[in-house]
């Protein structure tokens, strides 16, 4: 367990620990139909937008955004979509899984913020939302059953949109954002976003049009989490250490953003093909 920082006891730079530590699940919260949060009584010292590597012995190890974090406990929120997350879904209170991290850089903390989140992408933004003063949240998903944290954020300033209109407005988060920014009286200074990459790309473009700063939390296939396996490259950026948070200036120099990603083998493919595999 560690975060790649130099230890206080350091006598040379090689003091660090990135070995999974087996932690007991203290509670499991059902967040939606296929989404669960797993809580651990452990202070992980996570900055907004960071992630942990989660090891299920005998199954796999995957990056998961930290979705709850305070001095006593932390959690991540998983959505069952494949072998790994389906195995996670079977775990109950008292079960043990391996955790290392936290990893990655973090969101800036600016006021007058707007959050644009899609689906389970909201979980990557919750450590940010907890730190911001009254952000406006635009949250969307395909349909009601894909929405999470509706109770958690019931007192927040939140606009919900679903593709099929089964909850909140019918339509896309990006339409809500575009409408909002068109109104010259809006006070938004920065937009933070996480969700499907096509959505984030659109958010980035809308922000550019209105000359508003944007920060995205990107996802790529990761094996190490500490910047050496080279699988998560986006152009010359290493997603796990230079990111996963990138700002408008960086994104404008990343032609692969919204277009290409790399498979586990390192092969460069379109985002669409990438998502059909990973």
């Amino acid at each position: 367990m560690g975060n790649g920082k130099k230890s206080k006891m350091t006598h040379h730079e090689t003091c660090r620990t990135d070995i999974p530590k087996m932690l007991e699940i203290r509670r499991v919260v059902q967040e939606g139909k296929g989404q669960k949060s797993f809580f651990f009584n452990h202070s992980i010292g996570c900055k907004p937008g960071q992630f942990v590597m989660v090891w299920l012995p005998g199954v796999d190890e995957k990056p998961m955004a930290v979705s709850y974090c305070n001095k006593k406990e932390f959690a991540f929120t998983s959505q069952s979509i494949g072998k790994f997350t389906n195995e996670l879904d079977k775990l109950k209170k008292g079960g043990k899984i391996g955790i290392r991290g936290p990893y990655g850089n973090s969101f800036s903390l600016k006021s007058n913020a707007c959050i644009v989140a899609g689906g389970v992408g909201l979980s990557s933004m919750s450590t940010l939302i907890d730190k911001l003063k009254n952000p406006l949240i635009i949250y969307g998903a395909r349909s009601r059953q894909h929405l999470i944290y509706l109770k958690r954020y019931k007192n927040k300033n939140m606009i919900v949109a679903t593709d099929d209109g089964s909850f909140g407005r019918k339509g896309f988060t990006t339409d809500v954002l575009a409408e909002l920014l068109k109104n010259k009286k809006n006070k938004i200074k920065i937009v933070y976003t996480c969700g499907p990459e096509i959505m984030m790309k659109k958010v980035f473009e809308i922000c550019n049009k209105h000359k508003i700063q944007c920060e995205t939390s990107l996802e790529r296939y990761m094996a190490c989490g500490f910047g050496i396996c080279g699988k998560c490259m986006i152009n010359d950026k290493i997603c796990c250490v230079d990111g996963p948070i990138f700002n408008s200036q960086q994104l404008s120099k990343m032609p692969e953003f919204g277009n290409f990603a790399r498979l586990k083998s390192g092969k460069k493919v379109t985002i669409k093909e990438y998502h059909s595999v990973h």
């Binding site: 730079e13 999974p20 090891w55 005998g58 190890e61 050496i228 396996c229 080279g230 490259m233 092969k267």
Partner: protein
């Protein structure tokens, strides 16, 4: 002060990114070149696309690092399209290749040579693959593979990367040199395992993996020392080099160039420049103008 000649290649300094770390894309090669490496070795490629092992494939701590990535790679044909050529980047590039059968080494070497790398490295030593009998552990098999690659690489120099997981590394190095190798890369990772006692399972999904980082260095220094005693061709001393003092130690054992891989885990991509700066400080303090003055000095 640190300019180095490796075979026919001029390096601005002797540090080389070792194969397997980051060297997957052209842009990462350029970035590592700009950050100070004298040369960059690509992650190994073979005749087909490979996904590699399930995770965890790597983890590390203070003085030791473990990996069993299982040689993932896009395959040489896909790499040909992506890379186009390798002689126009910010730094000399070493193309690392392997195959399953001897002929495949030749086939991949030929394609790699068409990209015009500064050198081709032959990965016969990865301990994770099931080759049946490993090439690295048998002098005759090492010679066969070396000849096959040499015959398909044209004028591009080749370096054969050896494994420490053998009874006698000297006979393997000798076989590679006799078969036409222009250099020796010593060493790959040492075989090891870590079991998590809470999970009651080895942490690496592959169970067995390779040890690198500072813990590997004494083994690497010993291997470089033994290889230097045996062959006349230059050695790329690789294994646990993290600081300038480690690189100086490798040179004293007989290395011409210094491979750095896991060092990035401990000190970031800036490790190459840091190691070079530390080497220069030591050299000035000890009135050494050129590394040739101390190369192999430990043998005297």
């Amino acid at each position: 002060m640190l300019q180095t000649k490796l075979c026919s290649i001029s390096l601005k300094n002797p540090t080389i990114l070792a194969s397997g770390i980051l060297g997957v894309t052209k842009e990462s090669v350029n970035r590592i070149g700009k950050s100070g490496a004298g040369a960059v070795t690509l992650k190994s490629l073979c005749h087909e696309e490979r996904q590699g092992n399930a995770n965890p494939t790597m983890f590390g701590c203070d003085d030791v690092f473990f990996n069993a990535v299982g040689l993932p790679g896009q395959g040489i044909d896909s790499a040909l399209k992506e890379f186009g050529r390798l002689d126009n980047l910010s730094v000399p590039v070493i193309g690392s290749i392997y195959g399953y059968r001897v002929e495949q080494f030749g086939e991949v070497a030929k394609k790699m040579a068409s990209l015009k790398p500064a050198m081709i490295e032959v990965d016969i030593s990865c301990p994770h693959m099931d080759y049946g009998k490993p090439y690295y552990a048998d002098p005759e098999l090492t010679a066969k593979v070396t000849k096959e690659v040499k015959n398909n690489s044209g004028k591009i120099p080749i370096s054969v990367k050896l494994s420490p997981n053998v009874h006698d590394i000297k006979e393997i190095a000798h076989a590679a040199e006799k078969a036409g190798a222009n250099a020796i890369t010593a060493i790959n990772t040492a075989s090891g395992m870590v079991i998590d006692i809470e999970a009651r399972k080895p942490i690496l999904a592959n169970r067995i993996g390779g040890i690198s980082g500072p813990a590997l260095k004494p083994i690497a220094v010993r291997c470089v020392y033994e290889v230097y005693e045996t062959v006349k061709i230059p050695i790329i001393g690789t294994g646990g080099v993290t600081y300038g003092k480690d690189a100086i130690e490798m040179v004293m054992a007989g290395a011409t160039a210094i491979g750095i891989g896991t060092g990035i885990y401990y000190r970031g991509i800036g490790v190459f420049k840091k190691v070079c700066d530390e080497m220069e400080i030591w050299m000035k303090k000890n009135k050494i103008k050129n590394l040739n003055e101390i190369r192999g000095v430990a043998h005297k």
